[in-house]
């Protein structure tokens, strides 16, 4: 069973009727399993004004296994690890909860929603989650500072498997900024 038919269909659907505030590019035309997503932060979120790079990698077993999604742009968020290629904690993407009929648009929408409404009770960054719960002002200040530092200007997708040739530079640039 090949996953390419399903991915192609999802890609076509996304291109014909793009989901809100999301643009999709393929870093390599020959590899349909790797997507670069530019997510414009929802205006009602604390990250508003920022543009975030997301890397979507579809495993060979897709859609029976969930896609891997990471934040290429650093973000200050309780459910996203505070690093380049930050991993996301989303119950939808956990193996136990994943349903093969779930479409990538649903996942992207859930991530967008996560920016509006963090889930501090299921954190990947406990310290940030604590701050979110107890010192909201401090949290918001820091989150906005991150947006200013990392999420303005053209989105960089850094290094990851499949885009290694162009990736190194991007990450270096990001590190210089910090």
């Amino acid at each position: 069973m090949s996953s390419s038919k399903r991915i192609t269909k999802e890609l076509n659907d996304c291109l014909t009727s793009p989901p809100p505030s999301i643009t999709i590019t393929l870093p390599s035309e020959s590899n349909i399993s790797l997507w670069h997503i530019t997510l414009t932060a929802p205006p009602e979120s604390i990250y508003s004004g920022g543009k975030f790079g997301l890397i979507v990698q579809f495993p060979p077993e897709y859609p029976f296994k969930p896609p891997t999604i990471t934040f290429a742009t650093r973000i200050y968020h309780p459910n996203i690890t505070n690093e380049t290629n930050g991993s996301i904690c989303l119950s939808l993407l956990k193996t136990d909860n994943w349903k093969p009929s779930t479409k990538i648009v649903t996942v992207l929408e859930a991530i967008r929603q996560l920016l509006v409404e963090p889930q501090p009770d299921d954190p990947l960054e406990t310290r940030i989650a604590e701050q979110y719960k107890n010192e909201r002002k401090e949290f918001e200040k820091e989150a906005r500072a991150y947006v200013g530092r990392y999420a303005k200007g053209p989105v960089q997708f850094g290094t990851e498997a499949g885009a290694a040739t162009t990736g190194g530079e991007g990450q270096q640039q990001q590190q210089q900024v910090s």
């Binding site: 069973m1 349903k99 009929s101 479409k103």
Partner: protein, 528 residues
């Protein structure tokens, strides 16, 4: 895990449906019996004396795979008859309610739709599941739409092609080990796949695995049932001990495969130390392994002539080959003094207060104290292993002994009995040291230490006899000695366990660490 938690919360949020918990506890608590047994008048039973158990003993039952299957079948049949729903649906409901039939029935009677919905069984149609070819069908998973594509849908109507369904089920069952709660592949649909639909879709090999996994949920869902942890053992043990009882009793159970383990924490038998202290102790040992590692070394130097001495059996009575000095492997003290009343190999002499005035001295003393107990704990663990190795060799020699001495197979079994006693007693001794480490002194600790010492001496002398060469073992006088000592060891062990378990159940031990203080076992409800 997430799904599991959610499931738990759906069940527990319906507290109003639960029978009053306190009623349930009466039979389970005062005699640690079974909950599901009708509770005959306890007083009468105790008078007969049949059910009277030693304080360290718990009642339990061993179930083999066919027993487990049969218990499930009985429950499924009952629900099937009472509610007049199919067996598949009865099974799904029972699994959803964690095999609590009473709660299932109650909830089904009161809130039928809600119960069905929660269990992933909405509107019921009794038509048997079948594969279908639907014109114009396109599979939402693989996006195939070729003509004649076979497809399948559960009652919810979410239809997928057979290949996708098979792949999905195969992954759930084989890779994720899921069975009782495999949902429809559609996003957001919580309908559970039933056994009949599964049989239709997957290979016989996978069906078998599926049913095995379903059986596992029966045991895993019931608090009173646990799998025997021995590798390759398929049995389950039923025991009425609950989590909250564990500060009062150490529930050692024995599977018919001969594996003895703690029903509370599944670790190997650790009487007399309660689970909580065992956990603390093992953690401490793991954390301090650097400091303590040297102890478990197999070689030491003779305290008199410094020549290297290797330990090859479990016996702690060492005799230096070179200078013939006899000493104790554990405390390196003179062996001749070990039998006397004033000598204490097992007790740690707490230093007087003046000694431990400054912090440094205090921490040194506390390390010494820990090492004292760890040393003995680790030593018995090691000795038990060495005794076992030795027995493996002895077993071969038993055959030889049979031939040479003309003894029958049954006549050489005393060696096997001795080996068993050594194993069990050392296992107990080992844990007495972890227990003692956490024990604060009171008027009962002396009795405990005396019992420990008596058992230890008995074990060491049996261990010593056991190390004798085969030619000597054939001697009928030694044989009688070994048999006597074996039964003496077992007796001393019972005495020790009896004393520690009784005081534990009565809450008389004082521990020097935080220990969830138990509520008295005989609550107001049990006094009839």
């Amino acid at each position: 895990m997430d799904t599991d938690d959610e499931f738990m919360s759906t069940v527990s949020s319906e507290d109003d449906m639960l029978p009053d918990d306190s009623d349930n506890d009466i039979s389970g608590d005062d005699d640690f019996g079974f909950d599901d047994e009708p509770d005959p008048d306890l007083g009468i039973q105790q008078d007969i004396g049949q059910n009277k158990r030693a304080p360290y003993d718990v009642s339990f039952r061993v179930y083999e795979p066919q027993d487990i299957q049969q218990q499930q079948d009985v429950l499924i049949d009952e629900v099937n008859m009472i509610l007049n729903i199919s067996k598949e649906e009865s099974a799904i409901l029972l699994r959803h309610f964690r095999w609590n039939k009473e709660r299932l029935l109650e909830q089904y009677m009161d809130h039928r739709e809600k119960a069905l919905e929660a269990a992933g069984l909405s509107q019921t149609t009794s038509a048997p599941p079948k594969l279908e070819v639907i014109p114009g069908f396109c599979c939402d998973i693989c996006c195939e739409d070729e003509e004649g594509l076979q497809s399948f849908a559960l009652k919810c109507g979410h239809r997928f092609c057979v290949d996708c369904y098979r792949h999905y089920l195969g992954q759930k069952i084989r890779e994720e080990g899921e069975a009782a709660r495999i949902q429809c592949p559609a996003e957001g649909c919580n309908i559970i796949i039933d056994a009949r639909s599964l049989d239709l879709l997957v290979t016989a090999e996978l069906t078998e695995r599926y049913h095995k996994l379903l059986n596992r949920t029966y045991v895993e869902d019931k608090e009173t049932l646990k799998w025997c942890p021995a590798p390759d053992c398929q049995n389950a043990i039923e025991c009425g001990i609950k989590k909250k009882d564990l500060t009062r009793i150490v529930p050692t159970v024995a599977c018919s495969c001969s594996h003895r383990f703690c029903f509370g924490c599944i670790l190997n038998d650790h009487q007399p130390a309660p689970c909580e202290l065992v956990k603390k102790w093992l953690k401490k040992c793991a954390d301090d392994s650097e400091t303590a590692n040297w102890i478990s070394a197999n070689t030491k130097e003779c305290p008199k002539c410094n020549s290297t001495i290797e330990k090859n059996g479990g016996c702690n009575h060492m005799t230096c080959r070179k200078c013939k000095h006899e000493f104790c492997w554990m405390c390196m003290g003179l062996w001749s003094e070990h039998g006397t009343s004033w000598y204490n190999c097992n007790r740690f002499e707490e230093k007087s207060g003046t000694d431990a005035r400054d912090a440094q001295a205090k921490s040194r003393v506390s390390l010494e104290r820990y090492l004292h107990y760890y040393n003995r704990y680790a030593n018995h663990e090691q000795s038990a292993r060495l005794d076992k190795d030795l027995f493996a060799k002895t077993e071969k020699k038993m055959v030889q002994l049979q031939k040479e001495s003309g003894m029958s197979w049954i006549e050489v079994q005393y060696l096997s009995a001795a080996s068993m006693a050594l194993q069990t007693c050392r296992q107990t001794l080992m844990w007495t040291y972890a227990f003692a480490f956490y024990l604060a002194r009171n008027n009962l600790t002396t009795i405990f230490e005396d019992n420990q010492k008596d058992l230890e001496l008995a074990v060491e002398s049996l261990s010593e006899m056991f190390e004798k060469p085969v030619t000597e073992l054939a001697d009928s006088r030694l044989k009688v000695d070994i048999m006597d000592k074996t039964s003496y060891c077992n007796k001393r062990r019972i005495i020790l366990l009896d004393d520690t378990a009784r005081n534990l159940s009565e809450g008389k031990w004082i521990f020097n660490v935080e220990f969830s203080n138990p509520t008295p076992i005989s609550g107001p409800s049990s006094r009839k």
